[in-house]
Symmetry: C2
Subunit: 330 residues, 2 copies
Amino acid sequence: MRMQELKQPSSIEKTQNFLADDIKALENLMLSCFAGVSEDLIQDIASHLLIKGKGKMIRPLLCMLTSKMLGYKGDAHIKLSASIELIHLATLLHDDVIDESDMRRSLPTANVIWGNKASILSGDFFFSKAFKLMVSAGSLASLDVLADTASKMVEGEVKQMLNLQNKTFISQEDYFQVIEYKTAKLFSAACKVAALISQEEYVDTLAEFGHLYGVIYQIQDDTADYFSNSTGKLRGKDFLEGKITLPLIMLQNKVNQTEREVIEKIFENERSQQDLDKVLSLMKKYEILNALEIKVGKLANQAKNLLNNIARSTQAKNLLTDLVNWLAHH
Amino acid sequence: MRMQELKQPSSIEKTQNFLADDIKALENLMLSCFAGVSEDLIQDIASHLLIKGKGKMIRPLLCMLTSKMLGYKGDAHIKLSASIELIHLATLLHDDVIDESDMRRSLPTANVIWGNKASILSGDFFFSKAFKLMVSAGSLASLDVLADTASKMVEGEVKQMLNLQNKTFISQEDYFQVIEYKTAKLFSAACKVAALISQEEYVDTLAEFGHLYGVIYQIQDDTADYFSNSTGKLRGKDFLEGKITLPLIMLQNKVNQTEREVIEKIFENERSQQDLDKVLSLMKKYEILNALEIKVGKLANQAKNLLNNIARSTQAKNLLTDLVNWLAHH
């Protein structure tokens, strides 16, 4: 992802400092889910994902920061955050099998190291532990949201898989439906459950905030596929796999008829590095990166405006605003 | 399975008649989980499993019958039963990918028809809907039991996968640990949650009853692999795949040194029909079927004795006893 090539931005660091105790508790809680497991294989995969290949845990950060913003004082937000991260990791394990991915977060994927069968089963294990944590949080309303979210995420993955198999050029509308389901729903749930356990009047506002955050997150990820030099993610990976994402859809909507046919032809067969270069030069010609930045900027403003509906003005709220800016500006 | 070759036994029919309204509600509830799904693929797979390839739904029958025995009057037992059946189906979808199975219940498996990717994702979908149903039952204690059960089932599958990869002869103890996790835990949970929502003083007794039922169920399934002519399951399937199950372990504990080495050699490489015939003739020589029947008979008596601890004597209790006899006697 493009964001990985930059120095860790200070808004993430500030958030991590602000939430230091919560993050420690979150990490211990996630590791404790695997402590009593009889099979070393599952423990090895857990270490690979939770320690060696540890990500920014952006979904838990949002859930915990939102909880703080709303003045939540208990510990259910830790349990729910851990649960959300484990759902996320479970889907990564299965997605990497489905997409036949070999690298993630600069490490070989679990399916490469331990095989597809081990990845399928450990994904199921992560998923079951996620539900166990949710139950321990004791909020049936949050359980309901997260069970629904898990279903929708699968629907999004199925949509994406079928789009890929059909080899047809998807519309912008189709694209936004896929990313709403496969990505934004879990971000939305992360913020929604924080409201459910603290101040229910903000449930809809924060669900929408999380949704926008997730949409921007996925657009940035898809943008990075064309415009990043990150080591963690191979540039052009989605392109070479045939995934149609926003940069390409925007391009397709701007090019002339001849160029459009060239692009469509590229997506009918296996794609090469030369094809990627051709598409990149068209993206430069039509200033697609600029168009994407404008789109992201609008969505970021919508997200920040939603936070203005929250009466409190706290450090947590300011950090949440900073996290929107951080995501939108690189 | 061996039981499929016989005429549907009357104790199952009697149970189905007794629970007719509940079964109808259960089926409608399970189908309703897939009604609003945007992807036809998931709906097609759901129809394949819930309608075309519908099984006996033995786990829901146990849950519903146990609830009735304890005088339960609400509808949470339907929701929990549906949830348990969906967890079971989710594991079948994933297991068939992992075992590379091509037939189940006399039909091609979902992975053969729709591919591994679709099976992985629809398994995840079934799993998420199972949790959604559990939440709707409103019993946090039952949710906790079922989340734990789901984890243990995965541990059992991992154990089995590793045993298979290691190609070593497992002990009877290892065998019982695998079947406890991969099979008996869900049967146990089916009976345990029925007690949790109705009469908590019977939780342990019924968890143990369900456990024994599941152990017998798996032994009968493993026995059928050697002694059945069922069309639904290819005889010798587990044997040819290299799965070491109780009939073979019992045989290995009775044969002489020369025979033991022959059997071990057979399991070092791919197995043929001739190998199966050789093992079957040894099983005949050492009366393994008889030894299995004695083992199952003992477990069935333990299970029925547990029911004697339940003060009530109702039709549901009698049917539950009949279901033990039905399972044990063919």
